[in-house]
């Protein structure tokens, strides 16, 4: 049997209620094409893409509209045919602003040819050409951070990769986009995963799925039956943050990524299931990454839905399609509730990394007063990295950034486990983030000074 429990378990972690039932059984629905799409040039980590169309241009579905600029960057394509209405600054779902290309869509446009040549016989093609396709198609890590996939898939020669981990943990509460993708499109995900392995030349494939998503695991196992392989599905104990790269690598392989290192340092690459699906679509169908699954849920939306929606759809359109928001809407979150970003308004467009949109009612956003740390140690128990959030946050609060740096605040990936359990309701993640921002700024300044 290919399905078995994960052999290891990382230290720390928390058990938030998974709150997934509202949308777990709802099939992905294709969103009717919105009249307007706001496609950001910065949907990935690294340099924003450079727009290569002008206002007034007509574009076809899948046409390249912004080119990757620099090594860590990704192409951006038009999700639908239409006319470029404007190119201007717009807010991103991660709380920043970036140049966005606004497309007035043309619903009557014929479907047309896929923009890239399909490669159904990818098993016979050189890994290099497949990698180029991934780069062309503008594929990024769709689990959250949005790291350009083609960069991740071309590790330096001295870092041999022997394990590819397909991340289907989806440990964030509320979200079901990856879960539904696995249930409904398991074969495509599986094929995408094999394509990635061919690019990497990796030995084994390990699939990591939390044990509360047995249906997804079953669907994938069925898909894997038809494609015999030495791959293996590991059911992870439901524990947040199993979906985090380093924790997952440990749970699945028992290897520990060195502090400050990358998964490739221990011979692993972790790819999200949505990314695998996008790779399949790009290679087999020749279609760039322009649409993704997104869960719209929460107690302040009328009809929670799992959408398959074009990138650039404004959250206002998504919410409207989901039956609209209720009057008691008080918080709007792009992403999951643990690591997602609260948005100031619905006038923000979804990106390649938007896996969910949560609408929380006023009852869930009670104002509270954070207190002094009472030293209970729950955050220390919860931290999957073994950091001490209590002391780090106090150092940051006292502006003792050096102390925070010496105590490895930079390793914090802001999973939020500490703040979730804190009985004093301290904004621990915000303290960490601020300390990290200060340190990054200092390091940048120091590097600049070195140069001059």
């Amino acid at each position: 049997m290919k399905v078995s429990p994960a052999p290891f378990l990382f230290r720390g972690g928390i058990h938030p209620p998974d709150s997934k039932t509202a949308t777990a059984a709802l099939p992905l629905k294709d969103l009717p094409l919105p009249a307007r799409l706001e496609v950001s040039t910065s949907q990935h980590l690294g340099a924003p893409a450079a727009p290569c169309v002008a206002v007034g241009d007509r574009v076809t579905a899948g046409q390249l509209i912004a080119k990757a600029s620099g090594f860590i960057s990704a192409n951006v394509h038009a999700p639908a045919a239409g006319t470029i209405a404007a190119i201007r600054e717009a807010p991103t779902p991660t709380g920043r602003t970036a140049t966005a290309i606004i497309i007035e869509t043309d619903a009557d446009a014929p479907a047309g040819e896929p923009p890239y040549k399909p490669i159904p016989d990818w098993r016979e093609q050189a890994p290099r050409s497949l990698l180029d396709r991934v780069a062309e198609a503008g594929i990024v890590g769709m689990g959250g951070a949005g790291f350009p996939t083609h960069v991740k898939l071309s590790p330096p020669g001295d870092k041999p990769i022997d394990t590819l981990i397909l991340n289907g943990a989806e440990c964030e509460p509320f979200l079901n986009s990856d879960n539904r993708l696995l249930i409904e499109r398991a074969e495509q995900v599986w094929e995408g995963c094999q394509i990635i392995r061919r690019i990497l030349g990796a030995g084994t494939i390990r699939v990591a799925i939390e044990d509360n998503k047995r249906e997804a695991a079953k669907a994938l196992a069925a898909a894997m039956e038809s494609a015999p392989d030495d791959a293996h599905i590991h059911l992870l104990k439901t524990l947040y943050p199993q979906g985090s790269e380093k924790q997952q690598i440990y749970s699945v392989t028992g290897r520990t990524v060195p502090m400050g290192g990358l998964p490739m340092d221990v011979g692993c690459v972790v790819e999200n299931v949505a990314t695998a699906y996008a790779v399949w679509d790009a290679v087999v169908n020749g279609r760039p990454l322009t649409a993704r699954a997104i869960t719209v849920t929460g107690d302040a939306v009328n009809t929670p839905t799992n959408w398959f929606a074009p990138v650039g759809t404004s959250f206002a359109d998504l919410v409207a399609a989901s039956g609209g928001a209720r009057d008691n809407l008080a918080k709007l979150i792009a992403g999951g509730p643990m690591m997602g970003f609260a948005l100031p308004s619905l006038e923000v467009a979804m990106s390649k990394t938007s896996s969910g949109l949560l609408l929380f009612p006023r009852e869930c956003v009670r104002p509270y007063r954070s207190m002094a740390c009472i030293n209970c140690g729950r955050c220390v128990e919860a931290c999957p990295l073994g950091l001490m959030p209590n002391e780090l946050s106090q150092a940051a609060e006292a502006d003792d950034i050096d102390e925070a740096e010496n105590r490895h605040v930079m390793d914090c990936f802001e999973c939020g486990a500490c703040a979730y359990v804190c009985p004093a309701r301290r904004p621990l993640v915000q303290h960490m983030r601020r300390a990290k921002a200060v340190i990054t700024q200092r390091r940048r300044a120091a590097a600049q000074q070195k140069k001059t």
Binding site: F10, K331, A372, V421, Q430
Partner: protein
């Protein structure tokens, strides 16, 4: 102003903050309330064994602590913190740590000291380095040694005016044999709390019930109580094995004095104790060792050492915290990699 907001804001006013956007619901209030609930059996035992005197002390201490907390916050111009119940816990713990015959005004002095000097001058809950109730007890013990070690006005069958620990210490100091044998009847009496002592410390069974509740509610972890009580037991066992004539058996040391109250409620006060499991074990062992040293060294000024032991270990807490930091995920691997280079 209102009309303008309506003009500009298209939707409702949204709250924007940093992730995570959900919370476990744990709160300081709930933790403190749990401690109060866990103390109820001990309070009941105190009322049963010491009657009105216990009621008088509990009411006095709680009222004093609450009032002092309110006044201090007022004077400092800060928010009212009566709602977090920490002053209530301090008041209860202080009362349970006092001998039944203590004059009311001394209890008031203790309450004021606990809140004003040991807690609020540091900025309130979370900042105090020493357990406020214990600091107040130590303060009273040093200032009013007589009343703090007079036990006459107490017990239902008061045959002696000293605590068992005091009687034993006096006897051994004088070179006499143990004043009583720890037979079954006496052990049961000690277990239930039928002896002289501070009003809340005598009933081991009531305190243990409370501790189990705290463990069940995950307010405390097992490390400190187990390490503390275990160390005392091992130390007492060794002492008894080496010299049975001049020492008391293990269960005597476990059931008498403030050990149960101290190990389950005072040494587990999270503000003043280490954060990591390892640190808590060290803390517990340190408390146990110090307690037994203070109890059994014949020349010591006080027959009981639990409160001082915990206070001294409180002082060590920052150093223990520093020494028992968790290993950071991947730090060892990073060091190895560095070494290879």
């Amino acid at each position: 102003m209102n009309t303008e907001q309506q003009n500009t804001a298209a939707g409702p006013e949204l709250v924007v903050g940093v992730s995570p956007h959900i919370h476990s619901g744990a709160s300081v209030e709930r933790i403190m309330l749990d401690v109060v609930i866990a103390l109820l059996p001990a309070v009941a035992a105190a009322l049963y064994f010491f009657g009105l005197n216990a009621a008088r002390l509990i009411v006095t201490c709680v009222a004093t602590c609450l009032a002092t907390e309110w006044i201090c916050r007022r004077l400092m111009g800060r928010n009212n913190t009566l709602g977090d119940f920490s002053a209530l816990v301090t008041g209860l713990l202080l009362a349970l740590n006092l001998p039944p015959g203590l004059p009311t005004w001394m209890a008031i002095a203790g309450g004021v000291f606990a809140i004003a000097v040991a807690k609020q001058v540091f900025g309130g809950l979370g900042y105090n380095p020493f357990n406020p109730a214990l600091a107040a007890r130590a303060f009273l013990l040093i200032s009013f040694t007589g009343p703090m070690t007079t036990w006459s006005a107490s017990c239902i069958d008061a045959t002696s005016t000293a605590t068992p620990l005091g009687m034993v210490k006096e006897a051994f100091k004088a070179g006499a044999p143990a004043p009583f044998a720890m037979d079954g009847g006496l052990t049961l009496d000690f277990l239930l709390g039928n002896m002289n002592g501070c009003i809340g410390e005598t009933s081991a069974i009531a305190l243990l019930i409370g501790a189990l509740y705290l463990l069940y509610r995950r307010v405390i972890t097992w490390h400190i109580p187990v390490a503390f009580i275990g160390t005392v037991a091992i130390y007492a066992a060794i002492l008894h094995a080496v010299n049975p004539a001049a020492s008391m058996p293990v269960h005597f040391h476990l059931l008498t004095g403030g050990l149960m109250l101290g190990a389950c409620f005072m040494a587990t006060d999270m503000v003043t104790t280490p954060t990591t499991a390892r640190g808590r074990l060290i803390f517990g062992v340190g408390c146990g060792l110090l307690t037994m040293v203070l109890r059994t060294v014949k020349t010591g000024a006080y027959p009981e050492g639990v409160s001082f032991a915990i206070l001294i270990m409180n002082a060590f807490t920052p150093l223990i915290n520093r020494a028992t930091r968790h290993r950071i995920f991947g730090a060892a691997e990073a060091a190895k990699r560095e070494a290879r280079k």
